[in-house]
Amino acid sequence: MNDKPTLNKTLKAVLYLLPALVIIVTFSIYPIVKSFFMSFYTDYDYFKDLVYARGLDNYKVIFEDPEFWKSLGNTLLFVVGVVPLSIIISLVIATLLNQKIKFRGLFRTIYFLPFVTSVVAVSIVWRWIFHSQYGVLNYFLGLFGISPINWLTDPTWAMPSLVILAIWKGLGYNIIIFLAGLQNINQQYYLAAKIDGAGAWERFKNITVPLLSPTTFFISIVSIINSFKVFDEVYALFGGQPGPAGSAETIVYYIYNKFYGEWDFGVASAAAYVLFLVIFIFTLIQLYFGKKVNY
């Protein structure tokens, strides 16, 4: 099967790749290139594709805009709040689901459900959970004597509620990936460790965690990228508003507002490119450290 590549075979391969390539090029590559150029348009007619002047003004505008910095800050807060917690919680749940327990299949399905449910539907349920008067969360906290929290209407609690929703929503996907990783670990390591008298925690710490590191690494990269791009959750949880008094505005929300609200296409593109750069740098840092600690 795997003989030398020939022109004929390559052409055949290209033919098979073509549909996917066409879709990627039109819906991903072209917009990426186009918005890169658009971020330099300073005087233009968007609808007639006429550009009269180019420059760096759009970047100047966003760097001088306090709202941009606020939304970038909120986004970073979101990433820091969601990613580590989400990884730890899903690793713990995945380890439990990997044991021989009753109704294992049922539990796996339950944990995966949030991931396949639409954000809007999920948000409606969470709006009710977070409701200050009628919500179950405050009822539950009330049992411990904690007075009701205005999760959705108090600007200080807007980001935490968003983080809670996002962690819960992301669990399913992370758990599935972790489960796959766990099942790739050879059982013999555990057996050998058991013979040596290692306890459950020792086994988890010295076998599971190191051997799972490529999976953890993959999940952390994907989660960070996705968390930086958070938008749906904000839009749906706060009913089309970026939180009370704009307290949960994230960078993609900022881009959305500039593009669809203010018709400021150049500034929106520039903000999108800044976001791209931020994610790019984060991913490079991760790759650098990832190489160092790969087993």
Partner: protein
């Protein structure tokens, strides 16, 4: 071999870029005078009308459209529902970019501002003034003044008012009776009523989350002005602005006799649950309130209480025609707009949806008078025509609105002081206008 793949990839990229880069036809900027527009449709024409009407509203619109289509030999109007207003807005922008705009659509005033700046919609003046297909002076002036003004840019008409609403006061008649209250007509009475109604789990007064957006109304009621259109100067930070925001802030945060819709999204839910005694909200919400109030509470509506003066903003969309449509389609659209805004149809529309009729003659029509006598709740909106205003035409209006509404909200959720909020609202709105001027 790698080279060949690379080469192929580059070719592919180049082709697709070229394909996407070439723009279609160029729009002709020539403005037509009265004489130049066609006045006759001799071939069958189909026009698309993009709208955001759902549920009962959509059904009513369908009935009206069917009636229109039946009455015409050559014109067929195709209704296309584009989801929410937000979706409609996005799709209209995308359609304009890809040169696939519909002939007709619903549009808010601030969308129209953008459309006009980008030469996307047709100036309707030649159609209105045309002797054969246009309106007489009396027919034009029959359109309610505030709607006429809202659709006028530099003495040119760009739209015809369609589904129009304003803010009104909803109140719980059971609670009012229990407390021997009469309907408040001033701020003082409003505050007193809220004070009396607040007891136990009931909060006296409710405001929508969008109160920040409607803050200009409060400033104007206090006798102030929030922007000077000619000089493009924002004037929130004035004695009147302070009076308005202090009034709201006292009720919500200090005296705790009013609340925002908050997590309930819209006040209609807490109101019909009996959690608040009254609230200020859009007259377009009447149908929601009446369906969810059934069997729970008795209620009625009234015009907004005022302070120094009465003032209320009229909202809702207008009908616009896109410039990319063919001449025959434009004329067909104009015919349909004339139909929808005719006295009979605007009464039919108002009766079935709760929006206000857009013609003065409709308000005096026996059919309408009989209707509001039987359904007095629908009268509160149109009674306020004299106090009505529309949000002024400003470049950067969207950015300005979100700037001041965020600041006002920040005050009302207790994050900022009244002084700081007003200062920031003024500064950020001014920045938004100045930025758009560039």
């Amino acid at each position: 071999m790698k080279k060949i793949i690379n080469l192929l990839f580059v070719c592919l990229l180049a082709i697709s870029l070229a394909a996407c880069g070439t723009s279609g036809k160029t729009a002709d900027p020539e403005k037509k005078t009265t004489a130049e527009i066609p006045t006759k449709i001799d071939k069958p024409v189909t026009i698309e009308f993009w709208h955001a009407m759902t549920g009962g509203l959509e059904k009513t619109l369908q009935t009206m459209t069917e009636e229109f289509n039946d009455s015409q030999s050559n014109i067929t109007v195709k209704l296309v529902n584009q989801g929410t207003y937000d979706d409609l807005n996005k799709k209209l922008m995308a359609a304009a970019k890809s040169h696939t705009s519909p002939a007709m659509a619903q549009a808010y005033g601030d969308w129209m501002q953008d459309y006009i700046n980008n030469e996307l919609i047709t100036d309707l003046t030649p159609y209105i003034q045309n002797k054969t297909v246009g309106w007489s002076e009396a027919e034009l002036n029959d359109i309610v003044k505030v709607f006429r003004e809202e659709n006028t840019w530099n003495n040119k008409f760009y739209g015809v008012p369609f589904n129009k609403s304003t803010e009104i006061l909803f109140y719980n008649t059971d609670m009012f009776k229990e407390n021997n209250l009469t309907v408040p007509t001033t701020w003082d009475e409003l505050e007193k009523a809220a004070q009396t109604l607040t007891k136990g789990n009931v909060v006296g007064m409710g405001f929508e989350n969008a109160i920040g957006l409607n803050f200009p109304t409060w400033v104007q009621q206090a006798g102030g002005k929030f922007v000077d259109v000619d000089s493009q100067k924002v004037t929130f930070d004035t004695a009147e602005g302070k009076k308005a925001l202090t009034f709201l802030n006292d009720m919500i945060n200090n005296k705790k006799i009013a609340r925002l819709a908050g997590e309930d999204k819209y006040m209609s839910d807490p109101f019909t649950r009996g959690d608040v005694g009254m609230y200020i909200g859009s007259s377009a919400g009447i149908s929601f309130v009446s369906s969810s109030a059934q069997g729970k509470i008795n209620w009625a509506t009234a015009p907004l209480p005022g302070d120094k003066v009465a003032s209320t903003q009229f909202q809702g969309t207008n009908l616009v025609v896109f410039d990319s449509a063919e001449d025959q389609q434009k004329l067909a659209s104009w015919e349909f707009m004339k139909f929808l805004s005719s006295k009979e149809q605007t009464i039919f529309w108002a009766k079935n949806t709760g929006y206000v009729p857009v013609r003065e003659s409709a308000l005096k029509d026996p059919e309408w008078l009989k209707y509001i006598e039987e359904n007095p709740n629908y009268a509160a909106a149109e009674e306020q025509f004299d106090a009505g205003y529309h949000f002024p035409h400003l470049n950067g209006a969207f950015a300005m609105k979100s700037a001041f509404s965020t600041e006002i909200q920040a005050v009302l959720v207790g994050q900022k002081s009244v002084e700081q909020g007003l200062k920031d609202a003024q500064k950020n709105s001014q920045d938004a206008l100045d930025k758009a001027k560039k």
